[in-house]
């Protein structure tokens, strides 16, 4: 098990018109092994950029990311990623999708078969394993994505709004599933979301980011993720602190959004 160290990351890129954008400024984070951290912020605060840097898809202009004692230079199987949608391979069956990581490592059916079937059981897709991806509903597809990521046994799982495209009911079920998987596997998870409720329910640690330049605005330590494991999430929402924190964060984000709007109007 390993955490992720983000040291003084800045991201700045040039625009074709000669200007430049400061997407992230001086972000420092230390994510402990086994931690579930949710990241929240208004649009344009650089949360997806931060995740892409952590995954190794983008190189930061300054600072470094370290994991297992080495600097992250590119994507690697130690950091799994769950995308919002469209990342599954339509030309493979559900089971082949889940077995993709082990197969790329050169493992054969005998080596990965049991684990893949177990994961299909965990996400409740055992009956659908021979189906084609396009025959599944959106919620099922995201469960395949989760299982595929876990089958590869990464140390850190990066989630980029994995439940963003799902309807409210499916979303609640999936949130419970994420919590369950987190507790059972003990993986380090970074979850990006634009839903305050989701960030509160799933984040052991919650990061609110502010835009222009993208930076860490406030950090919370929350009890709800632990409370939610094995429990109805609606019960958790009745917790007195839950609503209080929710209102506080909502007000914070509203302020940021208004500030952005005001600034845009001044510029205009």
């Amino acid at each position: 098990m390993s955490g992720l160290t983000i040291e003084n990351i800045s991201m700045r890129f040039d625009l074709p018109n000669g200007g430049s954008v400061q997407a992230l400024k001086d972000v420092t984070l230390d994510i402990q092994p086994g931690e579930l951290m949710s990241v929240l912020g208004p649009s344009g605060c650089g949360k997806t950029t931060l995740l892409n840097i952590a995954a190794g898809f983008l190189a930061p202009t300054e600072g470094r990311i370290a994991m297992n004692g080495h600097t992250v230079l590119g994507p690697d199987a130690e950091r799994g990623m769950v995308f919002q949608q469209g990342a599954l391979f339509e030309w493979m069956s559900v089971r082949e999708n889940v077995a993709f990581g082990p197969r790329m490592k050169g493992e054969n059916e005998a080596q990965y078969g049991e684990n893949v079937d177990h994961l299909l059981d965990v996400v409740g897709l055992q009956d659908f394993k021979e189906k084609a991806i396009y025959e599944l509903s959106g919620g099922m597809q995201q469960r395949v994505a989760l299982a595929r990521c876990l089958a590869n046994d990464p140390d850190v799982i990066l989630m980029d709004e994995p439940l963003g495209a799902l309807d409210a009911l499916t979303r609640e079920k999936m949130q419970s599933l994420v919590l369950k998987l987190w507790k059972e596997t003990g993986k380090t998870i970074i979850l990006i979301t634009h839903s305050v409720e989701e960030a509160l329910l799933l984040g052991e640690r919650l990061l609110v980011m502010a835009p222009r330049p993208g930076r860490i605005h406030k950090e919370y330590r929350l009890p709800f993720a632990d409370l939610g494991v094995g429990q109805d999430l609606r019960e958790v929402k009745k917790h007195p602190d839950y609503n209080k924190t929710r209102e506080e964060i909502l007000a914070m984000i509203w302020d940021m959004e208004e500030e952005i709007m005001g600034r845009t109007e001044e510029n205009a």
């Binding site: 995954a55 590119g74 950091r79 799994g80 469209g86 990342a87 030309w91 084609a132 396009y134 990464p154």
Partner: protein
């Protein structure tokens, strides 16, 4: 014009007939319960009865207007006149008039064409006789045998009792009789509404030709050799085009250098119609197999390269990112993500390329070839063998259609996920 009107009449008539017959029998499936159908493309399904009637009526019209013996004769359009016909003409020689009869034998081209024997009759105008081949006309100097002819100042003033003057004409029951400016009668038997076989042979003649050429061959090659050679050229040309074009397209989709190097070439060659390359290919490689295959290779190459390139650019970047995060190497990304993801595009390209190749090979054979479907119809047209031309066109159409059906079938089997992501 008449044919078009008949066709429209069948179209409209069949619509109401089918609607009336099937009104009660339509199943109440989901689509049939839609109330908004105008503008909803998915609610438009081809009416199979219309398809059958459409194809049948084309053959029916073809048969009716060529006097085919495949259909009962009451369905035939009025045929050209054959048999004996006669009309009278009146000569005026200085105030004196006399009548005489002209007997006309309108006969089939290869049937008995004897000129009927006629009594000269009384009066100074004598009876005449002439034989005319069906669909043709003949000039007849009816006064030739008269006692007072044109040279003696006699004039023909009427045909069948109707006045006629130079440049005028009279319609009899079997022919149009016109007078030339010099006073000669031009007899044009009625041609009816049917087409002369030299323009449009009846269906059974075309079918018979297929049999004849299939057994006896045409110009030293059997029908199957002609069609087989055309197909062979298409398949080989397409194969090499795909063999070079697909890797080229992948390289252009994956490397800056390849993209920069080949972009101008591909973008320039793509809009050049392959037909425009025929003269150059003939100069370089002659009219044999090599030239044809080079031409079809060039026709398929750019299409396949562009299809493969857009297949690569069509890969959703999250799929590539996901594969890298799952530990795939570059080669594994190529093998398991980029190639399968680009297959639908490549199949679309292959269908287009096959269609273009088939069109190009026929055109190239029309220009110059020793064998092939295009050569067959070109040579036949020079000898006015319209039945062979029609047969060739129908077979070329059938093969082109079969190629497309085959490609679509292969696509369904090989890339079932097409259009479903």
């Amino acid at each position: 014009m008449i044919i078009l009107l008949i066709y429209i009449a069948i179209f409209v008539g069949a619509f109401f007939a089918v609607k009336y017959i099937t009104a009660s029998a339509t199943p109440k499936d989901y689509t049939s319960l839609k109330t908004v159908t105008f503008g909803d493309e998915s609610a438009v399904r081809p009416n199979r009865a219309a398809s059958i009637i459409s194809v049948t009526s084309i053959f029916l019209i073809w048969a009716a207007f060529t006097g085919s013996n495949l259909i009962p004769s009451f369905l035939h359009a009025p045929a050209a006149y054959t048999g004996m016909g006669e009309f009278t003409y009146t000569v005026d020689a200085g105030g004196q008039t006399d009548d005489a009869t002209v007997t006309v034998n309108v006969h089939e081209k290869d049937a008995d064409g004897t000129v009927p024997e006629m009594e000269p009759g009384d009066g100074f105008a004598k009876n005449d006789a002439v034989s005319i081949v069906k669909y043709r006309s003949k000039l007849l100097r009816v006064d030739q045998n008269d006692e007072q002819g044109r040279d003696a100042g006699a004039k023909i003033v009427a045909v069948n009792g109707q006045a006629i003057a130079p440049g005028g004409e009279v319609f009899t029951d079997f022919a149009r009789v016109a007078m030339t400016p010099k006073g000669t009668l031009n007899i044009v038997p009625n041609t009816g509404w049917q087409m002369e076989p030299i323009w449009l042979p009846p269906p059974e003649d075309v079918a018979k030709r297929v049999g004849d050429i299939a057994t006896d061959g045409f110009r030293n090659f059997t029908l199957w050799e002609h069609l087989g050679y055309s197909l062979f050229r298409v398949v080989v040309g397409f194969f090499f085009g795909a063999l070079v074009g697909i890797p080229l397209g992948y390289a252009m989709g994956l490397s800056n250098w390849f993209r920069g190097w080949f972009d101008p070439i591909v973008e320039f060659m793509r809009p050049v119609p392959p037909l425009a390359l025929i003269p150059l290919v003939i100069i370089w490689a002659g009219i044999g197999e090599t030239g044809k295959i080079i031409l079809l290779f060039l026709a398929a190459l750019w299409i396949m390269a562009i299809a493969a390139r857009s297949g690569v650019s069509g890969v959703n970047i999250t799929k590539v990112h996901a594969a890298y995060s799952l530990g795939a190497s570059k080669w594994q990304i190529m093998r398991h993500v980029i190639i399968p993801n680009s297959l639908p595009e490549i199949f679309t390209g292959a269908r287009v390329a096959m269609g273009v190749c088939w069109g190009t090979v026929v055109a190239a054979e029309l220009v110059a070839a020793e064998k092939g479907a295009g050569m067959m119809i070109m040579v036949a047209s020079k000898f006015q063998n319209t039945d062979i031309v029609l047969m060739g066109i129908i077979l070329i159409g059938v093969i082109g259609f079969s190629i497309d059906v085959l490609m679509r079938w292969a696509e369904r089997i090989l890339v079932p996920w097409k259009g479903k992501s």
